[in-house]
């Protein structure tokens, strides 16, 4: 049809067709996006359900933040039993500390927790090869939570343009949404148990451990900022932060951990803010005990039960010097400027 048109008419025809196509696309995008949004937010269990709860509903006194190790390693109910505070595990697998900071920022908009427990892997501040790709799980909250936008924008300078689409924030969520909606699993307040037991004869030498490369790896200033932010924001709202490095089953070349640039900075920042820093990587209660682990660095349910108990007791002992006053734990050891 357009072939018979003159060039200028053909351009008008193109403009008309383009507008028509864009309108159809926007309408379909809106419908598709709304459907995906509905499915996403109606999940009854799983990672996204936990994230949704943490972002919009969590009002627990104890927050557990970090990656898969704490996600599978700390049982909120045990913390509640021992410390007497409600708890929620807001950690998520394969995430960096930026994710935890984003979740904490969203929670602090509406609620002040009393205790914030952060798991920091020794190399948790080093630059990651996959950049900020994993922050895609925060995309569904980009429109509704302005406080997390700067974190999501780290994914790329064009992310905000992609987010014009209503479908894109729910990219690759449809199957999981359907599954978690129709076959929900038990909710452990964010904690996800693992039941596997690691083989005692597992070949440690075969585990990935490019430690030399990691020692000299540059720090990511955004990760450092996020880690510092978690500590300072927690203190600002009167919460008591704890930085923990979770135990491991076995680890090749363990001695190199302490040489990591990242490890030194994690420790230093915690010391600067007078925050308890507990490196439990090689705690003899756990290290080398395969019955507590599902793999080299993740607890199984049995290990998580014991570890949660040990950590909660440790925190209880630490809080012995603190006064529980109203809704706030006032730590006498903090500098005046931060304890107010």
């Amino acid at each position: 049809m357009a072939g018979s048109l003159s060039t200028s008419n053909s351009k008008i025809y193109l403009a008309y067709k383009l507008v028509l196509f864009i309108v159809i696309l926007l309408v379909l995008d809106f419908i598709g996006g709304s459907l995906l949004k509905y499915l996403y937010f109606s999940q009854q269990s799983g990672d996204d359900y936990s994230l949704n709860y943490a972002m919009d509903k969590a009002n627990e006194d104890i927050l557990l933040l970090g990656d898969s190790r704490i996600h599978h390693g700390c049982i909120p109910e045990i913390f509640t039993d021992i410390l007497g505070y409600s708890s929620y595990n807001a950690a998520r697998g394969a995430q960096s500390i930026i994710f935890s900071y984003a979740v904490l920022s969203a929670i602090l908009k509406r609620h002040n927790p009393k205790i914030v427990i952060v798991d920091m892997p020794p190399n948790g501040l080093a630059k990651r090869s996959n950049g900020y790709d994993k922050l895609s799980c925060l995309l569904p909250y980009y429109r509704s939570h302005p406080e997390i936008r700067r974190f999501v924008d780290l994914r790329g300078s064009f992310e905000k343009f992609k987010l014009i689409s209503r479908v894109y924030p729910f990219n690759s969520t449809i199957l999981k949404s359907l599954k978690e909606r129709h076959k929900p699993k038990k909710d452990w307040k964010g904690y996800v148990p693992r039941h596997k037991v690691v083989r005692p004869d597992i070949d440690v030498a075969n585990q990935p451990a490019d430690m030399e490369g990691k020692i000299i790896a540059d720090l990511d200033p955004n990760l450092v900022e996020a880690y510092t932010g978690i500590i300072t924001k927690s203190i600002e709202v009167g919460a008591k932060p704890f930085v923990v490095i979770l135990p491991r089953y076995k680890y090749p070349r363990a001695e190199l951990d302490y040489k990591l640039k990242s490890y030194k900075v994690i420790k230093k920042i915690a010391a600067d803010y007078n925050v308890p820093f507990w490196d439990m990587s090689f705690d003899t209660l756990f290290y080398g005990h395969n019955e507590y682990f599902s793999d080299m660095s993740h607890f199984n349910h049995k290990g998580a039960q014991l570890f949660s108990k040990v950590l909660a007791e440790k925190i209880k002992a630490e809080l012995g010097d603190s006064i529980v006053s109203g809704n706030t734990i006032v730590d006498k050891s903090l500098p005046d400027s931060l304890s107010q």
């Binding site: 357009a2 053909s10 199957l175």
Partner: protein, 477 residues
């Protein structure tokens, strides 16, 4: 600059708008500048290689055109060959041969101490060197007149849509088009855009999704069972097809919007009924390049059967080496050559067998069986293409053929997304191949159905595409 980056999505419309705004005589300058910019986005210094190749071939072409003396013409052809193959040899193959010879020498307790060359492989070097080589050979043969316009010749070498991963164009096809005054055309724009969208679907929904599964299995192959490796191998064949044909689709679509007609590079290869047919449908621009510039000069098929077998296996082995500086690619190419040769050698026996079991009475079923066998064999050979080393490839092959162990799927959702992508792709391709005038959605006569179909395709890309900026596999070649 990647085709699947926002950078390109901004860059390309700007180039198109400027292109159609400029008078014809200035357009080549715009396209050349855009092409060089496109290339320099990876590494600025790399452009020197393209310029060197351009200047040498331009000069060689002119010099060949100035004389009828075959010896002198040959001298300039050799200059072009040495320059282009020298660049390729240095940047792509030096370390491979160095390493291979070192291993060979050490086997006989001899030392070879040539230091490793620490350079990055220039993106697309195999493509543009082959493209410019075809020009020199065509001029030498007298098929093409030497190009006098240096700018146009430089544009022919570096035309950005097909610069880094083809299709490898011939000077006889592309150069004349560069001189033509291109008018804006709605049909070109529309069909170009459709091909681009389809390319993005293949890349983001199929290839990049399958890459996650394939990489997790192949990069840890010792931990996986035969059945898991078999599935990953089948997925890899779809991954590599979608990755590469997606690039070609976006390249062809981008060029068509500006009025240029690039050659078809893939024609539904997984629906081929025999090995020779696969290679008439797979990476057509490279296969025809090897046919015209290597296979036919070696005598082609007009030689004795034994010589023909030799020719085919040699050509495919070289083709394997072209794909990558690793023994895995060489073996992959050689086996393909053997399969192709066997296909002809055993054609009689095959026909006899088909007749014996009366399969020829059911032509549709017979064709289905042929497609299935060809696809399975082609896919299984892809394990050599993907394996990280030759020893890995043989280990994988052993496990796959023994089919030991159970299937391991880390994430069921990932598998389902992958299968959805493959299913959608094959549905479209089967429709195009066998039911061209039926069940039309993407080329329906009613415009609103066409629009809805493409809008739906875009939504699928947004909903289940992988947006981590994955590289195109063929960039490494």
């Amino acid at each position: 600059m990647l085709f699947n980056s926002i950078h390109y999505i901004i860059f390309f419309p700007i180039v198109v708008m400027l292109y159609f705004s400029l008078p014809h005589r200035y357009r080549w300058i715009l396209l050349l500048a855009a092409s060089y910019y496109f290339y320099m986005c990876w590494k600025v210094e790399y452009i020197i290689l393209i310029i060197t190749s351009t200047l040498i071939d331009y000069t060689a072409g002119l010099k060949m055109g100035q004389t009828d003396d075959k010896r002198k013409r040959k001298k300039y052809l050799i200059l072009s060959l040495i320059t282009n193959l020298g660049l390729l040899g240095t940047f792509k193959y030096f370390n491979f041969f160095n390493e291979s010879f070192r291993a060979l020498f050490s086997h006989y307790n001899l030392m070879l101490n040539i230091p490793e060359l620490k350079v990055l492989l220039p993106v697309g070097i195999s493509f543009y060197t082959f493209q410019t080589l075809s020009y020199s050979i065509d001029v030498y043969r007298g098929v093409k007149k030497p190009e006098r316009h240096l700018g146009m010749f430089a544009l022919y070498v570096s035309f950005f849509p097909q610069l880094v991963a083809g299709p490898i164009e011939r000077s006889t096809r592309l150069l004349p088009q560069l001189f033509e005054k291109k008018k804006y055309s709605y049909e070109n724009f529309s069909s170009g855009m459709k091909q681009i969208i389809w390319g993005y679907f293949k890349k983001l929904v199929v290839a990049d999704r399958l890459a996650i599964i394939v990489n997790s299995v192949y990069n840890n192959q010792s931990e996986h069972s035969g059945i898991t490796l078999l599935l990953a191998t089948l997925f890899f064949s779809f991954q590599v097809y979608c990755d590469f044909s997606a690039y070609s689709d976006i390249a062809i679509g981008s060029a068509r919007i500006m009025g240029y007609d690039l050659m078809e590079n893939f024609r539904r290869p997984f629906l081929a009924k025999s090995f020779p047919e696969v290679w008439r449908r797979w990476h057509i621009s490279l296969t025809t390049w090897f046919k015209d510039y290597v296979y036919i000069p070696m005598g082609g098929s007009r030689v004795s059967q034994s010589r023909w077998l030799f020719n085919v296996i040699v050509v495919f082995t070289i083709s394997g080496l072209w794909h990558g500086a690793n023994w895995t690619f060489i073996i992959w190419g050689a086996i393909h050559g053997i399969c192709l040769a066997s296909s002809r050698v055993f054609a009689g026996i095959r026909q006899w067998f088909v007749h014996l079991i009366r399969l020829d009475r059911f032509p549709r079923f017979h064709n289905f069986i042929r497609i299935l066998i060809t696809f399975t064999l082609f896919s299984l050979l892809a394990m050599f293409f993907r394996a990280n080393s030759l020893s890995d490839a043989f280990q994988i092959a052993e496990k796959v053929f023994l089919l030991k162990g159970s299937l391991y799927v880390a994430q069921t959702t990932m598998l389902l997304y992958g299968l959805f992508g493959i299913g959608f792709l094959m549905m479209v391709e089967i429709k195009q191949e066998f039911f061209d005038n039926k069940f039309s959605l993407f080329d329906n006569r009613i415009p609103i159905i066409r629009h809805l179909s493409y809008a739906f395709l875009v939504l699928i890309i947004l909903a289940v595409g992988v947006f981590d900026g994955g590289q195109f596999i063929y960039f490494q070649f």
